[in-house]
Every structure is written in C-alpha cells, then in structure tokens.
C-alpha cells in the first residue's frame, strides 16, 4: 500500500527533513535535535512518543508553521515535495500540506457546518459553482453528511472532530498531518474516523502522518512507525519491528497497552454495608428549552454504589451521559427522581460548595479549574474556604503532595505557565489536600501519555488505599483495564453494566460493544484466573 502514488507527479519525496533542529524563541533548550526523515508520497505513517517529546513541534515544522508562525532558532531544512518550506509563504504551503490539530473547538472558525468546510476553499478562491459539490464530498468522506446544515455550536464532540477533519479534507492536499485525531472520541467514532483515513490513503493516495499516544488502533494500518524521544527520532521502521521491543516502548512511556498487575485483590469488591456513594434509581432529563441535540441523553433509572477503596471506571460513548451522571454526584445537577447519598447523607438540598468537603471533582479541561496565581495557593484554595484541615496541616499536606506529584519545583510558579501534563497533575493534587471521601474524575487523561497516566493513577490509588472511593470517566478502555476494580458502562443514559472489570469485558463482547474492550484480550483473559 505504501507505493500508491496518484497525488503527485514529481519524483521528489512528499516530506524530506534534513538534519533539522529547532529552539523556540525565549528558550535555550532545543525541542528538536537533528531530525532527518524522508516520507514518500502515499505512505501512512504513525508517529508516537512520550508527552513533550517534540511530536507537535515536528508536525508544525513539517507544515511550515515553524518558522513562519513561531519565532525561534532553526537549523537544517524541511522540504515538502522538494520545496524548502522557508521559501514559500504559509498559504502556498497550505495547498500541499494540511495539519489537523487536536482540539476541534480551537479550529472551527465559522457559524455553520457548510461555511466551515467552504472556509479554506473560499480563501483559495475556488469558484462558487464548485463549492457545493466539494462541501458534500468532504462531509461524505467522514460519514457526516447529515450535519451539513447544522450550526457549529450545536455539534457534539465527535461531530466537531469530524468537521475539523472534513474542513481540511475539502482542500484535497496531497499530504495530511493529524495530531491525535481520536483522543476525544469514543471507540466507535474513533474507528469510523480511522477507516476514512485508510480510505483516503488507499483511494486518493494521500500521504498521511498520524501523531498519537494510543497506537494500537493504528498499528494494523500504518505502513511505517516513527518513535520520538526528547526531540530525537529514535525508531523508524515497520509496526511489527516496533512490537518486538515492548521494553523500549515502556521506558519511553508508550505502551502497547498500559501497565498490568496493578489492580487490587478481588476481596475488595465484596458488597459493602455502608458504601461511600449510593445512587438509587435516579432519572434526569434536560429542560425542553435546551436544544436536545447539543446535550447528552437524559439519565434513566440508574442505581449503583461505590465503597471506600474502590476505583470504578465509567465508560460509554460521547453523549451517553457520563458527565451528566458525574455532575449529579456533586449536586451540580439534581435528579428529577431518585436519590443520591454520600456517606449516608442525601446530596439534594446541600450546596455544591458544602459538598466539596466530601467530594473532589476534576473537570476535563484543567484550565477551567485553576484559579490562583501560585501553585501552592491552588492546592490550599479549597481548605481555605471549607476551613478543613487547619492551615498548618493543610500547608504541610499540600507541600508533600507537590513532592508526590513531581510539582515541588513549581511551588510559587503560576499554574497557567505549566505544561498540560503538569496542569492535570495539579488539578488532581488540588482536590486531595482536604482528603475528600469521594473522587470524581471526568476524562482527566486526554492528551497525556501513559507514563503521565501511570504517575497520576499511582497517587489516586494511594488515595483509594487511604479510604477514598474513586469514579473515573474515560474513553480509554486500556486505562480501565489497568487501574480499575469495577466498570460501569453507560449507553444512552442507561446503566447497561456494573461488574468487576474482568467480567465486564466479556459482558461487553456479548453486548456487541467490543470496541470498549482493550486490545490484547488474550492478556485480559488471564485475569479470570486470579485466585479469590
């Protein structure tokens, strides 16, 4: 498949990087060191590596945004179809190479879906008569024709991701770079997106480079794998060669699947007389004034309990009601029917700021929950408001948490100046100071490599060992598999499954939801034999 080449007639490789290094302005540490790389037209390449290894900087360099948009020092050359990126203005390069970035909300720039697809074509002065057809065919490629007349603000996360992709596909550039195209998608939608990429690569000969932490879905389709670490290219070969070196991968924080053997003994799972959290038959629907298409499904008759020491995974498709359910558990939403108790006391009627004493909540985007000017103050924020624990004790605990989380060097830095991984660790550290008995985590790992995930989960496990109950919503079945004791599966607002993880995966297969089962089922099968 790697030799299909309809896109270009020139014999120059699609991408040719020669001894390229780059240092961002204002920094002394190079982000890219002497990268040399050639990608032929029609290849499907997977690029992976730990967070902060320079993957995103490399894609920016390939698309020409470095040096055109970002100041800094560079050395060496990047050629796209034989042309040095420095010699062409950015919008000329844009005709040849497209970069689809991670967050679709930061890429959609118009009010309607059709306008968004047309945006690039209009800029390149495509005649009006061609536009309608090009809009349709771009949407058809990502299997999203039905959203054509929608307003962009009413799209779901998955639809936005498809739109962002389609708006670049419409330009029909021969080279396509994608940065974590599936990170925010539920497994079925992720599979859809991946198959449109395969289709594009095979049918139109588009050269594709995918950057991702979750490499397993791409291993069967990529013709080539690149591995980066600390700004250097450390592996360049085919996927089967990569599989042969799992230990190298693990050292770099890239796992074929996350760490195993980290779970609790099953005795922990026995039913508890006085669970930390009890949810009984709650039902909820959004008020009809809301545009129902923009919100998740209502919750239907949900009951479950979580005990002290448990780490429970909550999975389900985008819009299945995971966030809605979590919001109920801390009183941000109130059920229409049914009741929720935390430590035996009903949630209803208590203000959220009061519930914060017992419940810690981590939102998806760390930037929405960082308030203070210094990292240490951020940790002390809650205890200052709820007056628990005493100031001295809180400060001691906060400082020791900063050490545990590897953040002690930033104690008096601004939280906003940290990297994404550091910010995510900080948000979790901030809810641990006053030792809440229930931790609710809503997709806290998007965009992080498994080394970061592992570091964070180690501390969450420690909190669970000290008695906290944890509920973790995620798209990534591998994380549930590796760290959770039990699994809740939501579908269209209904709780379809509540079972220990190893049983849950076989149930899921029976339910026809195989996409929620992590790869390597052979290994998960072995867990059935864990003695009681």
């Amino acid at each position: 498949m790697s030799s299909v080449n309809k896109g270009t007639s020139s014999s120059a490789p699609a991408i040719k990087v020669d001894d390229f290094s780059f240092t961002y302005g204002g920094s002394t540490e190079p982000v890219l060191h002497n990268i040399t790389l050639t990608i032929q037209a029609g290849e499907f390449v997977l690029l992976t590596g730990p967070s902060g290894c320079g993957k995103s900087t490399l894609t920016r360099s390939l698309a020409g945004f470095i040096p055109h948009e970002f100041t800094g020092k560079s050395k060496g050359t990047v050629r796209i179809q034989g042309v040095d990126t420095r010699t062409l203005p950015i919008y000329e390069l844009a005709k040849t190479i497209s970069l689809v970035q991670q967050d679709p909300d930061s890429q959609i720039v118009t009010l309607n879906v059709a306008d968004e697809i047309a945006f690039g074509l209009e800029n390149f002065q495509t005649p009006q008569s061609e536009l309608v057809q090009r809009i349709k065919s771009a949407l058809a490629t990502v299997n999203a024709l039905k959203i054509k007349n929608r307003s962009t603000s009413t799209l779901s996360g998955g639809e936005k991701q498809k739109l962002a992709l389609a708006s670049f596909l419409a330009l029909q550039s021969p080279i396509l770079l994608l940065d974590e195209p599936t990170a925010r998608l539920d497994p079925p939608t992720a599979r859809e997106v991946i198959s449109s990429l395969v289709q594009l690569n095979q049918a139109s000969g588009t050269t594709i480079l995918v950057v991702d932490h979750r490499i397993s879905p791409f291993l069967p389709i990529a013709s080539r794998c690149l591995l980066m670490n600390a700004g250097r290219l450390v592996f360049d070969g085919n996927p089967s060669q990569l599989r042969q070196h799992p230990s190298i991968l693990q050292k770099l924080g890239v796992y074929l699947s996350p760490l195993e053997n980290t779970r609790f003994p099953l005795s922990r799972l026995e039913r508890d007389e006085s669970p930390t959290l009890t949810v009984r038959e709650i039902e909820f629907s959004y008020p009809t004034t809301h545009d129902s298409s923009t919100y998740g499904f209502a919750l239907k008759d949900i009951s479950f309990a979580i005990s002290s020491g448990e780490i429970v995974g909550l999975i389900g498709a985008n819009g299945s009601g995971k966030t809605t359910l979590l919001q109920h558990l801390i009183g941000l939403l109130s059920p229409d029917r049914g009741n929720i108790e935390i430590n035996g006391r009903p949630v209803s009627g208590r203000p959220v700021s009061e519930l914060a004493r017992e419940v810690g909540f981590v939102f998806q985007n760390p930037l929405h929950q960082l308030f203070e000017r210094r990292v240490l103050d951020e940790l002390l924020l809650t205890s200052r408001h709820i007056k628990k624990p005493a100031p001295n004790e809180a400060e001691t605990r906060a400082k020791s948490l900063l050490v545990d989380f590897g953040l002690s060097a930033f104690t008096s830095r601004s939280p906003f100046s940290l990297s994404l991984g550091e910010q995510r660790r900080l948000t979790i550290a901030s809810i641990l100071v006053h030792r809440p008995s229930l931790l609710l985590l809503d997709e806290p790992f998007i965009g992080l490599d498994y080394r970061n995930v592992n570091q964070m989960m180690t501390i969450i496990k420690q909190a669970a060992n000290e008695g906290a109950a944890v509920l973790l919503a995620t798209h990534d079945p591998a994380i549930v598999h590796a760290y959770c004791t039990r699994l809740l599966f939501l579908s269209e607002g209904k709780l379809l499954l509540d079972a220990p993880v190893h049983q849950a995966f076989s149930h899921l297969r029976r339910l026809g939801e195989a996409e929620y089962i992590p790869p390597h089922p052979d290994k998960s099968a072995s867990f059935r034999e864990v003695p009681k």
């Binding site: 970035q101 306008d115 209009e122 670049f168 929405h368």
Partner: protein, 278 residues
C-alpha cells in the same frame, strides 16, 4: 446562578419573510437611519410614527413581538420607569391635573401632571423602546454570516469582516466555559451561591483568570487552523452563499436615506422641531 446557554440562542431567527430576504446592508441603512432619528428628535409625534413603522415591520417579518418583549423585559421595565419619572417630575407646561390633590390647607397639591410631562414621557420612553425594537428586528432577520459577507461590498477587507464571524462563533463556546468555570468554583468549595459581598473581587478574579487563560490558549491553534486553510491568500475570496442586492433593496436604501436627510435638514435649520403643545 447558572447561566448555561444564555447566548446559545442567538438573536437570528431563520425564516423567509420579506424582511429576512432584504440585503443586510439595506437593513443596516434603515437601522442607522431609525436610530439617528430616534436619538436626535425630541418629538413625540416622530417617536410614535417610528413605533408604528416598527410594529408594522415585525408583522411583515413574521416575528412574534411577545417573544422579543419577554426576552428584553428588563429594558421595557426601565423605559416605563423613565416615562413615569418624566410624567411625575416634569412640572412645567400646561397643567392637566395633580396626582395628589390638596390634602389640607397649605398641604399640597403635589405632583402636577402636565402636557409637557406626557410629551417627555413619550419621547424618552419610546427613545429606548424604539432603539431596542429596531435592533431586535435587525438581528432577528439578519444571518450574521451574510452580514459579514455583505460588509465586503462596502470595501471592507474580508479579513476584518470575517473577524466578526470568528468572534461570534466563539461566544457560545466561551459561554459554556463560563458555566463550567462557575461550576468548578463551587466544586472547589468556593461559595458562589451564597454571600454577595464577601470576596467579591476574588470571585471576579476566579472567573476571569481561568477563562482568559483558556481562551488565550486557543490562539495558537486557531491561527494555524486559519492560516493552514489559506486565510489571507488573496485580497478577495469567493463565497458559497452570498446575499443578493435586488431592486427592492435599492428602493428602500435610497428612500430611507432621502427621508432621513430631509428630516435632518429640517432639524438643522428649523431647530427645534415643533413640539406638541410646546
């Protein structure tokens, strides 16, 4: 106080009435003319005529006035308040009656209601209401994207008119983020729902900082997403949908410009316009 989705519902109400189909520039001209006349003229007759014209336009646009009024209730209450104040406290002009008759010899009468008071109440109350109504019908019948496209006909470079589309697209996103940030404050134990005075400034900071930083963080990606799709490739661009400028647009634009200039000419040279029972 949860404000989720306040802005999600833009003023634009898609429809296919006569007024919806007018070119945005035509409507902008009429809007400007009416706003100018409303602000400059202190005449109750002009105000009432404009009000009648606006009510007629709502009928033509097929927009329920009740919906607009319920959405902008506060401003109507405020207009009523202004009118009542004018009515009660304007003490010059021809006396109609006293609000409070003499209570005892030497006590009262109080609050004379005069013709000038009635006139002032109409002028100042309607000034607010007319501007609100003309603004509301403009945004209810104008697709913002087509408005931006239409602006390029005034030789405004598309990079600037498109900036308006980009800005408007981000509003619902930030609106949702603002709701999330306020939720996050509460989950961190900050009592947003109680205590009006305590920590007022801190609350503003807790709301502004996360939103400012999360918004600024989007700048890189948005810039690349636009430049990466050829934004600024040429001085002009094509459009897959464009508002048409028909003969009815010419007629309305020219008519409103002529009427407004005539009235302004009169206003400038015969100042002030005859006031009802002056």
């Amino acid at each position: 106080m949860r404000m989720k989705g306040k802005h999600l519902h833009f003023g634009y109400l898609p429809h296919s009435s006569v007024i919806h189909r007018l070119n945005p520039l035509t409507k902008l001209t009429v809007l400007t003319c009416i706003a100018l006349l409303t602000i400059l003229f202190n005449s109750d007759i002009t105000s009432l005529v404009l009000l009648a014209f606006l009510l007629l336009s709502y009928f033509a646009a097929g927009i329920s006035l009740r919906q607009i009024i319920s959405r902008l209730r506060s401003i109507f209450v405020f207009a009523l308040f202004i009118a009542v104040v004018q009515l009660i406290f304007t003490s010059y002009g021809a006396l109609l009656f006293f609000l409070i008759p003499p209570l005892a010899p030497g006590l009262g009468p109080f609050f004379p209601i005069t013709m000038s008071g009635v006139s002032n109440a109409i002028v100042l109350g309607l000034r607010l209401i007319n501007i609100v109504l003309v603004s509301a019908i403009f945004i209810a019948t104008t697709d913002p994207t087509l408005f931006a496209v239409a602006l390029t006909r005034l030789r405004i470079p598309y990079r600037y008119s498109f900036l308006f589309v980009l800005t408007l697209r981000l509003v619902p996103l930030f609106d949702q983020e603002s709701a999330i940030v306020q939720d996050a404050q509460r989950t961190r134990g900050i009592p947003v729902d109680r205590g009006v005075i305590r920590g007022f400034l801190t609350r503003i900071r807790y709301t502004f900082f996360p939103l400012v930083f999360s918004a600024l963080n989007r700048i890189d990606n948005l810039t690349l997403a636009m430049d990466g799709r050829g934004f600024g490739y040429a001085k002009t661009r094509t459009y897959h949908r464009q508002p048409s400028f028909r003969s009815v647009d010419w007629i309305i634009t020219i008519a409103s410009l002529i009427i407004t200039s005539l009235l302004l000419w009169q206003y400038t040279f015969l100042l002030p316009l005859p006031r009802l029972l002056g």
